[in-house]
Symmetry: none
Subunit: 289 residues, 2 copies
């Protein structure tokens, strides 16, 4: 008669073990207890070591593993490793007593990443959920054209947003750096179109002026700026204030980037049905080149 395995689903090994403990034979329970006692490390050693610790024979261990639904011992180990990995990833890794002998470079790196993370956390805490929802909803309406524009350094953010947004929906434009072309773009802007502006210090006059002209054309202005607020804030319909400080001579755009990614994520989720088709079609086009 074939050995009937206890479970074939993908619960954790521990659950399966506990739930079916009474179906194990007395000797099989010994290694089972050892494993539970020291879960899951004990399962990551060789059969011989495991068997010795539990004071049973190798084949008994193997029969236990078989009853847990694994045809081979290495399979069982892979499952355990997999679980362990998942478990290690979730919590904030312990950053323990790392002696102070660590070099300055180490401190600098840690300080830098801490500051950036604080920026993100603090920025997000201050953003009203309603603003995000509202902007996301507007972006989901493909009737309204979207124009993205940024300053000397932030035009990169605009471009990043543009690339992804354009993958998601049509009717999106990135207004390039040369302000000589801006007049043309302004002509195209219709009422209720969305103009997304990135402006952090030092605020650029030309961007401010573009925004106010777009406003006159009836556009809705969405502003991404820093904690000192671009002058555009006073005319914008939606303002996102992001933290930009860093232990550096340069401001950090990381929080801005994160918000862009968040909005893209939400938008993609909300419009998944439409987006999926568009992405599929896009994929096909890529293939054919």
């Amino acid at each position: 008669m074939a050995i009937k395995s206890i479970s074939s689903d993908n619960n954790s090994v521990m659950e399966v073990l506990l739930r079916n403990f009474e179906r194990l034979t007395p000797t099989e329970r010994k290694p089972a207890r050892i494993l539970l006692d020291n879960y899951p490390m004990e399962g990551l050693v060789t059969i011989a070591q495991f068997a010795k610790k539990a004071k049973v024979s190798g084949p008994t261990v193997l029969r236990l593993v078989a009853k847990l639904g694994f045809a081979r011992y290495p399979e069982f180990q892979n499952k355990l490793r997999q679980e362990l990995q998942a478990r290690l990833e979730t919590p904030v890794q312990k950053t323990p007593k790392q002696a102070k002998k660590s070099v300055r470079s180490h401190d600098f790196i840690a300080e830098f990443s801490d500051t950036v993370c604080q920026n993100i956390k603090k920025s997000f805490k201050n953003i009203p959920v309603s603003e995000i929802n509202s902007v996301t909803q507007s972006l989901g309406n493909t009737q309204q054209a979207v124009y993205l524009i940024g300053g000397r350094y932030t035009f990169v953010m605009a471009e990043h947003f543009y690339l992804h947004l354009h993958a998601i929906r049509p009717n999106v434009s990135h207004i390039d750096r040369q302000s000589s072309t801006w007049a043309d773009h302004l002509l195209d802007i219709k009422k209720n179109d969305l103009v997304i502006v990135f402006d952090i210090r030092r605020y650029q006059d030309d961007i401010v002026s573009f925004a106010s002209k777009a406003l006159k054309m009836g556009a809705k202005i969405i502003l991404f700026t820093d904690q000192w607020l671009s002058p555009i804030a006073s005319i914008a319909h939606h303002v996102f204030t992001l933290q930009t400080k860093a232990p550096s001579n340069w401001d950090s755009s990381t929080a801005i980037m994160t918000l862009i990614d968040l909005i893209l994520a939400k938008l993609t989720k909300d419009l998944w049905l439409e987006v999926k088709d568009r992405l599929d079609a896009r994929e096909e086009n890529f293939q054919s080149f």
Copy 2:
């Protein structure tokens, strides 16, 4: 001559690895990176599996392990298991992981920023300080020209880096999207020039090919990639592995961005005297327009 082991004390394997990363040979660094990326699970598989994942030979893995102070592979694994066990015992066991009932907007925002921050922290923890120092030093040498190139989405990262790097030092070029111009750029590349490549999945053939051609021209390749490693990793002189996962259909480039900003910050600090003059002159030029 006997192989001198790096350490025989009882620090964690990861510490030893990070502290002595620069003493490893190029090929030995590949499995080292894999291990750091997925610490310590990757060290618990067989040499063959480990070697395959890192795309090196078994003996190379063995030599790495030897340099870390272990005479035999199983010894190394025992140490890892031991560390892992200690780590699992201390904290409160479960991180129940918020049942996935309706994810409200608030939760979504928090989850998103948490993930991004974890990406940054995890990425930075795995980057050997020596790599950052070494790259920063190279970037400080204005004799070596710097070329930046990125893929479909990551060219934005290249551009961000370019903008700031160019403010700091001369002799920097951003290679644009149109691959038709790449042949010309290749002609200019001289021995010891730096080619900084951004390549995250899905990896682009044209970027890979550009990198290998640049290598033939004698350039030093610096790669920014994700946890799955671009194929360029095998020919790059320096590889930075960043975490890109996010609760989204899109990968997150935030960790990459943060590393760029960090390198820029460090570079600016290190070369402050030269940089200051350049920035002052630049400021004057802006005023006059």
